[in-house]
Protein backbone atom coordinates (compact mmCIF):
# COMPACT_ATOMS: atom_id res chain seq x y z
CA UNK A 1 0.00 0.00 0.00
CA UNK A 2 1.27 3.44 -0.97
CA UNK A 3 1.38 6.18 1.63
CA UNK A 4 -0.02 8.68 -0.86
CA UNK A 5 -1.85 8.35 -4.15
CA UNK A 6 -2.04 11.60 -6.06
CA UNK A 7 -4.63 11.88 -8.82
CA UNK A 8 -3.53 14.36 -11.47
CA UNK A 9 -0.14 15.50 -12.74
CA UNK A 10 -0.56 19.21 -13.31
CA UNK A 11 1.27 21.83 -11.22
CA UNK A 12 -0.75 20.90 -8.10
CA UNK A 13 -0.30 17.12 -8.35
CA UNK A 14 3.39 17.25 -9.29
CA UNK A 15 4.25 19.71 -6.53
CA UNK A 16 2.37 17.51 -4.06
CA UNK A 17 4.43 14.55 -5.32
CA UNK A 18 7.75 16.34 -4.75
CA UNK A 19 6.76 17.39 -1.24
CA UNK A 20 5.47 13.90 -0.40
CA UNK A 21 8.60 12.21 -1.76
CA UNK A 22 10.85 14.58 0.18
CA UNK A 23 8.99 13.49 3.33
CA UNK A 24 9.91 9.91 2.36
CA UNK A 25 6.31 8.94 1.77
CA UNK A 26 5.86 6.22 -0.85
CA UNK A 27 4.07 8.08 -3.62
CA UNK A 28 2.09 7.17 -6.71
CA UNK A 29 0.85 9.71 -9.23
CA UNK A 30 -1.97 8.61 -11.55
CA UNK A 31 -2.91 10.88 -14.42
CA UNK A 32 -4.30 10.94 -17.89
CA UNK A 33 -1.61 13.41 -18.91
CA UNK A 34 1.37 15.27 -17.54
CA UNK A 35 1.17 18.99 -17.03
CA UNK A 36 -2.62 19.33 -17.18
CA UNK A 37 -3.82 22.70 -18.40
CA UNK A 38 -0.36 24.22 -17.85
CA UNK A 39 1.04 22.06 -20.64
CA UNK A 40 -1.38 23.70 -23.05
CA UNK A 41 -0.51 27.32 -22.24
CA UNK A 42 1.56 28.89 -24.95
CA UNK A 43 3.15 31.81 -23.11
CA UNK A 44 3.65 31.85 -19.35
CA UNK A 45 5.08 35.10 -18.00
CA UNK A 46 3.98 35.04 -14.37
CA UNK A 47 5.58 31.93 -12.88
CA UNK A 48 8.38 33.22 -10.68
CA UNK A 49 11.86 32.43 -11.90
CA UNK A 50 10.78 32.36 -15.54
CA UNK A 51 10.39 35.70 -17.33
CA UNK A 52 9.00 33.78 -20.26
CA UNK A 53 8.38 30.07 -20.68
CA UNK A 54 6.04 27.97 -22.79
CA UNK A 55 3.73 25.51 -21.07
CA UNK A 56 5.52 22.62 -22.74
CA UNK A 57 8.93 23.78 -21.46
CA UNK A 58 7.70 24.45 -17.94
CA UNK A 59 6.12 21.00 -17.75
CA UNK A 60 9.34 19.49 -19.09
CA UNK A 61 11.11 21.15 -16.12
CA UNK A 62 8.47 19.78 -13.73
CA UNK A 63 8.97 16.32 -15.17
CA UNK A 64 12.76 16.47 -14.83
CA UNK A 65 12.30 17.63 -11.24
CA UNK A 66 10.01 14.78 -10.17
CA UNK A 67 12.26 12.21 -11.85
CA UNK A 68 14.89 13.14 -9.25
CA UNK A 69 12.72 11.38 -6.70
CA UNK A 70 11.43 7.91 -6.12
CA UNK A 71 7.92 8.64 -7.38
CA UNK A 72 5.82 6.12 -9.30
CA UNK A 73 4.11 7.76 -12.26
CA UNK A 74 1.21 6.09 -14.01
CA UNK A 75 0.36 8.15 -17.11
CA UNK A 76 -2.37 7.60 -19.66
CA UNK A 77 -4.64 6.31 -16.92
CA UNK A 78 -8.10 7.52 -16.09
CA UNK A 79 -9.28 7.10 -12.52
CA UNK A 80 -12.72 5.53 -12.32
CA UNK A 81 -13.41 5.50 -8.59
CA UNK A 82 -12.10 5.95 -5.05
CA UNK A 83 -13.39 3.51 -2.42
CA UNK A 84 -12.68 3.42 1.30
CA UNK A 85 -10.96 0.20 2.46
CA UNK A 86 -9.38 -0.89 5.75
CA UNK A 87 -6.47 1.47 6.47
CA UNK A 88 -6.98 3.68 3.43
CA UNK A 89 -8.48 3.84 -0.01
CA UNK A 90 -8.61 1.87 -3.23
CA UNK A 91 -8.19 3.88 -6.41
CA UNK A 92 -9.48 2.12 -9.49
CA UNK A 93 -8.42 2.92 -13.07
CA UNK A 94 -9.57 1.29 -16.29
CA UNK A 95 -6.71 -1.22 -16.05
CA UNK A 96 -5.71 -1.50 -12.41
CA UNK A 97 -6.42 -1.01 -8.74
CA UNK A 98 -4.07 0.75 -6.34
CA UNK A 99 -4.21 1.11 -2.57
CA UNK A 100 -3.10 4.16 -0.65
CA UNK A 101 -3.36 5.34 2.93
CA UNK A 102 -4.09 8.85 1.74
CA UNK A 103 -5.50 10.21 -1.52
CA UNK A 104 -4.76 13.68 -2.90
CA UNK A 105 -7.15 14.78 -5.64
CA UNK A 106 -5.44 17.20 -8.04
CA UNK A 107 -7.36 16.40 -11.20
CA UNK A 108 -7.79 19.99 -12.32
CA UNK A 109 -10.28 21.05 -14.92
CA UNK A 110 -11.44 19.81 -18.31
CA UNK A 111 -12.76 21.83 -21.27
CA UNK A 112 -16.40 22.84 -21.26
CA UNK A 113 -18.48 21.74 -24.24
CA UNK A 114 -20.66 24.07 -26.28
CA UNK A 115 -23.39 21.42 -26.60
CA UNK A 116 -24.43 22.40 -30.11
CA UNK A 117 -25.22 20.35 -33.17
CA UNK A 118 -22.13 19.09 -35.02
CA UNK A 119 -19.77 19.53 -32.08
CA UNK A 120 -19.43 15.82 -31.27
CA UNK A 121 -19.72 14.71 -34.87
CA UNK A 122 -16.84 16.88 -36.08
CA UNK A 123 -14.50 16.40 -33.13
CA UNK A 124 -11.14 15.72 -34.75
CA UNK A 125 -12.64 16.69 -38.09
CA UNK A 126 -12.00 20.37 -37.61
CA UNK A 127 -13.36 20.75 -34.08
CA UNK A 128 -10.71 20.79 -31.37
CA UNK A 129 -10.49 21.62 -27.67
CA UNK A 130 -6.70 21.85 -27.91
CA UNK A 131 -5.74 24.69 -30.21
CA UNK A 132 -2.21 24.48 -28.81
CA UNK A 133 -1.91 20.90 -30.11
CA UNK A 134 -3.80 21.08 -33.37
CA UNK A 135 -3.55 24.67 -34.66
CA UNK A 136 -0.55 23.83 -36.91
CA UNK A 137 -2.85 21.55 -38.94
CA UNK A 138 -4.89 24.57 -39.99
CA UNK A 139 -2.15 26.29 -41.91
CA UNK A 140 -3.58 28.84 -44.37
CA UNK A 141 -7.14 27.74 -43.51
CA UNK A 142 -9.97 29.86 -42.13
CA UNK A 143 -10.88 29.09 -38.54
CA UNK A 144 -13.21 30.22 -35.79
CA UNK A 145 -12.21 30.44 -32.15
CA UNK A 146 -15.18 30.28 -29.81
CA UNK A 147 -14.85 32.07 -26.47
CA UNK A 148 -13.87 35.39 -24.99
CA UNK A 149 -11.56 34.66 -22.07
CA UNK A 150 -7.84 34.07 -21.74
CA UNK A 151 -7.77 30.63 -23.34
CA UNK A 152 -9.73 31.87 -26.38
CA UNK A 153 -7.41 34.87 -26.70
CA UNK A 154 -4.42 32.55 -26.41
CA UNK A 155 -5.77 30.24 -29.14
CA UNK A 156 -6.49 33.23 -31.38
CA UNK A 157 -3.04 34.69 -30.94
CA UNK A 158 -1.39 31.35 -31.72
CA UNK A 159 -3.53 31.00 -34.84
CA UNK A 160 -2.60 34.43 -36.23
CA UNK A 161 0.77 33.02 -37.23
CA UNK A 162 -0.71 29.87 -38.82
CA UNK A 163 -4.23 30.30 -40.17
CA UNK A 164 -5.41 32.50 -43.02
CA UNK A 165 -8.39 34.20 -41.40
CA UNK A 166 -9.55 33.91 -37.81
CA UNK A 167 -12.99 34.75 -36.45
CA UNK A 168 -13.07 35.22 -32.70
CA UNK A 169 -16.64 34.54 -31.67
CA UNK A 170 -17.58 35.87 -28.28
CA UNK A 171 -21.04 35.55 -26.77
CA UNK A 172 -20.45 38.51 -24.44
CA UNK A 173 -20.51 42.19 -25.48
CA UNK A 174 -16.79 42.59 -24.65
CA UNK A 175 -13.73 40.34 -24.56
CA UNK A 176 -12.41 39.30 -21.16
CA UNK A 177 -8.85 38.21 -20.49
CA UNK A 178 -5.53 40.00 -20.25
CA UNK A 179 -5.21 43.49 -21.74
CA UNK A 180 -1.76 42.75 -23.18
CA UNK A 181 -3.04 39.81 -25.26
CA UNK A 182 -6.20 41.67 -26.25
CA UNK A 183 -4.16 44.52 -27.70
CA UNK A 184 -2.07 42.08 -29.75
CA UNK A 185 -5.21 40.46 -31.16
CA UNK A 186 -6.89 43.77 -31.98
CA UNK A 187 -3.73 44.73 -33.86
CA UNK A 188 -3.57 41.49 -35.87
CA UNK A 189 -4.70 41.95 -39.46
CA UNK A 190 -6.21 38.51 -39.95
CA UNK A 191 -8.53 38.48 -36.90
CA UNK A 192 -12.20 39.48 -37.00
CA UNK A 193 -13.72 39.86 -33.54
CA UNK A 194 -17.44 39.15 -33.37
CA UNK A 195 -18.80 40.16 -29.97
CA UNK A 196 -22.37 39.46 -28.78
CA UNK A 197 -22.43 36.51 -31.12
CA UNK A 198 -23.83 33.08 -30.38
CA UNK A 199 -22.54 29.90 -32.02
CA UNK A 200 -25.45 27.78 -33.20
CA UNK A 201 -24.30 24.90 -35.36
CA UNK A 202 -21.23 23.28 -36.91
CA UNK A 203 -21.78 21.94 -40.41
CA UNK A 204 -19.81 19.97 -42.98
CA UNK A 205 -19.45 16.62 -44.71
CA UNK A 206 -16.35 14.67 -43.70
CA UNK A 207 -14.72 17.79 -42.27
CA UNK A 208 -16.03 21.08 -40.92
CA UNK A 209 -17.10 23.49 -43.65
CA UNK A 210 -19.37 26.02 -42.04
CA UNK A 211 -20.33 27.57 -38.76
CA UNK A 212 -23.75 29.03 -38.16
CA UNK A 213 -23.73 32.06 -35.88
CA UNK A 214 -26.25 34.58 -34.63
CA UNK A 215 -25.84 38.24 -33.79
CA UNK A 216 -27.61 38.45 -30.42
CA UNK A 217 -28.48 42.15 -30.79
CA UNK A 218 -29.94 42.11 -34.32
CA UNK A 219 -31.02 38.48 -34.28
CA UNK A 220 -29.36 38.05 -37.69
CA UNK A 221 -28.11 34.54 -38.47
CA UNK A 222 -25.15 33.99 -40.82
CA UNK A 223 -22.93 31.16 -42.01
CA UNK A 224 -19.15 31.47 -41.90
CA UNK A 225 -17.02 29.33 -44.19
CA UNK A 226 -14.40 27.82 -41.88
CA UNK A 227 -12.40 24.60 -41.80
CA UNK A 228 -11.57 24.75 -38.12
CA UNK A 229 -13.50 25.41 -34.93
CA UNK A 230 -11.44 25.87 -31.78
CA UNK A 231 -13.66 25.70 -28.71
CA UNK A 232 -12.23 27.64 -25.78
CA UNK A 233 -15.20 28.52 -23.59
CA UNK A 234 -13.70 27.72 -20.23
CA UNK A 235 -13.55 24.62 -18.12
CA UNK A 236 -15.30 22.55 -15.48
CA UNK A 237 -13.78 20.63 -12.56
CA UNK A 238 -12.68 17.09 -13.44
CA UNK A 239 -14.67 15.22 -10.80
CA UNK A 240 -16.36 12.30 -12.58
CA UNK A 241 -14.58 9.78 -10.34
CA UNK A 242 -14.98 11.71 -7.10
CA UNK A 243 -17.30 9.95 -4.60
CA UNK A 244 -20.55 11.81 -4.06
CA UNK A 245 -19.80 11.81 -0.32
CA UNK A 246 -17.10 14.44 -0.92
CA UNK A 247 -18.58 17.90 -0.51
CA UNK A 248 -18.48 20.19 -3.52
CA UNK A 249 -19.76 23.71 -4.20
CA UNK A 250 -22.49 24.69 -6.64
CA UNK A 251 -20.13 24.61 -9.63
CA UNK A 252 -18.73 21.21 -8.72
CA UNK A 253 -15.45 22.29 -7.14
CA UNK A 254 -14.24 20.29 -4.16
CA UNK A 255 -14.54 22.11 -0.84
CA UNK A 256 -11.34 22.03 1.23
CA UNK A 257 -10.18 23.63 4.46
CA UNK A 258 -6.98 25.62 5.03
CA UNK A 259 -4.99 22.37 5.19
CA UNK A 260 -6.53 21.12 1.93
CA UNK A 261 -8.60 18.48 3.75
CA UNK A 262 -11.91 17.44 2.22
CA UNK A 263 -14.78 16.38 4.45
CA UNK A 264 -13.62 12.75 4.12
CA UNK A 265 -10.77 11.95 6.53
CA UNK A 266 -7.70 10.89 4.55
CA UNK A 267 -8.74 12.53 1.27
CA UNK A 268 -7.11 15.84 0.39
CA UNK A 269 -7.60 18.02 -2.68
CA UNK A 270 -5.66 20.86 -4.28
CA UNK A 271 -5.40 23.08 -7.33
CA UNK A 272 -8.04 23.95 -9.91
CA UNK A 273 -10.36 21.09 -8.96
CA UNK A 274 -10.96 22.81 -5.62
CA UNK A 275 -12.77 26.03 -4.78
CA UNK A 276 -9.41 27.83 -4.36
CA UNK A 277 -10.07 31.42 -5.35
CA UNK A 278 -7.77 31.89 -8.36
CA UNK A 279 -6.82 29.32 -10.99
CA UNK A 280 -3.15 30.03 -11.62
CA UNK A 281 -0.15 27.75 -12.09
CA UNK A 282 1.71 29.26 -9.16
CA UNK A 283 -1.33 28.97 -6.89
CA UNK A 284 -2.00 25.36 -7.90
CA UNK A 285 1.64 24.53 -7.15
CA UNK A 286 1.41 26.19 -3.72
CA UNK A 287 -1.83 24.36 -2.95
CA UNK A 288 -0.18 21.09 -3.97
CA UNK A 289 2.59 21.58 -1.45
CA UNK A 290 0.05 22.39 1.27
CA UNK A 291 -1.93 19.24 0.49
CA UNK A 292 1.18 17.03 0.65
CA UNK A 293 2.27 18.58 3.94
CA UNK A 294 -1.25 18.15 5.26
CA UNK A 295 -1.17 14.50 4.21
CA UNK A 296 2.23 14.02 5.87
CA UNK A 297 0.99 15.53 9.11
CA UNK A 298 -2.11 13.33 9.00
CA UNK A 299 -0.09 10.16 8.32
CA UNK A 300 2.35 10.97 11.15
CA UNK A 301 -0.58 11.39 13.50
CA UNK A 302 -2.31 8.17 12.48
CA UNK A 303 0.83 6.05 12.16
CA UNK A 304 -0.31 3.42 14.61
CA UNK A 305 -3.45 2.55 12.74
CA UNK A 306 -6.67 4.33 12.08
Amino acid sequence: MYDVIIIGAGPAGLTAAVYAARKKLSTLVISENIGGQAALSSDIENYLGFQFVTGADLVQKFEEHIKEFDIDLELGSNVKSITEIAGGFEVETKEDRYNGRVVVIASGKIPKRLNISGEKEFLGKGVTYCATCDAPLFSRKDVAVIGGGNSALDATLQSTKIANKIYLININPKLGGDEVVKEKIEAAENVTILNSTETLKIKGEVFVQQLKIKDIISGLETNLDVQGVFIEIGSIPSVNFVPSSIKRNEIGEIIVDARNRTNITGIFACGDVTEVLEKQIIIAAGEGSKAALGAYEYLARTKDGR
Binding site: L40, S42, G124, C130, T132, C133, D134, P136, L137, S139
Partner: protein, 76 residues
Protein backbone atom coordinates in the same frame (compact mmCIF):
# COMPACT_ATOMS: atom_id res chain seq x y z
CA UNK B 1 7.28 -3.28 -37.56
CA UNK B 2 7.12 0.24 -38.95
CA UNK B 3 5.97 2.95 -36.54
CA UNK B 4 5.44 6.61 -37.43
CA UNK B 5 4.33 9.32 -35.00
CA UNK B 6 2.75 12.46 -36.44
CA UNK B 7 3.12 15.22 -33.90
CA UNK B 8 3.43 18.93 -33.16
CA UNK B 9 6.02 20.33 -30.73
CA UNK B 10 3.36 22.02 -28.57
CA UNK B 11 1.18 18.97 -27.98
CA UNK B 12 1.65 17.26 -24.60
CA UNK B 13 -0.03 14.02 -25.72
CA UNK B 14 2.47 13.76 -28.59
CA UNK B 15 5.34 13.94 -26.12
CA UNK B 16 3.68 11.34 -23.89
CA UNK B 17 3.23 9.04 -26.88
CA UNK B 18 6.89 9.35 -27.87
CA UNK B 19 8.06 8.85 -24.27
CA UNK B 20 5.91 5.74 -24.04
CA UNK B 21 7.42 4.30 -27.24
CA UNK B 22 10.95 5.11 -26.04
CA UNK B 23 10.31 3.47 -22.65
CA UNK B 24 9.23 0.33 -24.48
CA UNK B 25 12.21 0.42 -26.85
CA UNK B 26 10.05 0.85 -29.94
CA UNK B 27 11.83 2.55 -32.81
CA UNK B 28 9.74 5.13 -34.59
CA UNK B 29 9.89 7.91 -37.11
CA UNK B 30 8.72 11.27 -35.80
CA UNK B 31 7.10 13.66 -38.25
CA UNK B 32 6.51 17.22 -37.08
CA UNK B 33 3.38 18.18 -39.01
CA UNK B 34 3.71 21.83 -37.99
CA UNK B 35 6.88 21.96 -40.11
CA UNK B 36 6.00 19.47 -42.84
CA UNK B 37 2.74 20.70 -44.39
CA UNK B 38 2.81 18.04 -47.09
CA UNK B 39 2.97 15.28 -44.47
CA UNK B 40 0.21 17.00 -42.52
CA UNK B 41 -2.03 16.92 -45.57
CA UNK B 42 -1.32 13.26 -46.23
CA UNK B 43 -1.93 12.36 -42.59
CA UNK B 44 -5.35 14.04 -42.59
CA UNK B 45 -6.30 12.44 -45.90
CA UNK B 46 -5.33 9.01 -44.69
CA UNK B 47 -6.96 9.12 -41.27
CA UNK B 48 -9.71 11.68 -41.95
CA UNK B 49 -8.74 13.14 -38.60
CA UNK B 50 -7.39 16.64 -37.95
CA UNK B 51 -5.62 16.20 -34.68
CA UNK B 52 -2.38 14.98 -33.18
CA UNK B 53 -0.84 12.71 -32.16
CA UNK B 54 -1.52 10.07 -34.76
CA UNK B 55 0.43 6.86 -34.66
CA UNK B 56 0.76 4.68 -37.73
CA UNK B 57 1.72 1.09 -36.98
CA UNK B 58 2.17 -1.03 -40.11
CA UNK B 59 -0.62 0.86 -41.87
CA UNK B 60 -3.03 1.00 -38.92
CA UNK B 61 -3.65 4.50 -37.62
CA UNK B 62 -4.33 5.26 -33.97
CA UNK B 63 -5.56 8.71 -33.03
CA UNK B 64 -4.57 10.28 -29.70
CA UNK B 65 -2.48 8.84 -26.87
CA UNK B 66 -4.31 5.69 -25.81
CA UNK B 67 -1.87 3.52 -23.89
CA UNK B 68 -3.99 0.38 -24.00
CA UNK B 69 -4.68 0.63 -27.73
CA UNK B 70 -0.98 1.22 -28.37
CA UNK B 71 0.02 -1.80 -26.26
CA UNK B 72 -2.43 -3.98 -28.14
CA UNK B 73 -1.33 -2.80 -31.56
CA UNK B 74 2.36 -3.11 -30.67
CA UNK B 75 1.88 -6.50 -29.05
CA UNK B 76 3.28 -5.34 -25.68
Amino acid sequence: MKVTVYSTPTCPYCKMTKDFLKENNIEFKDIDVSEDQEAAKKMVEKSEHMGVPQIEIDGTILVGFDKEALKKELGL
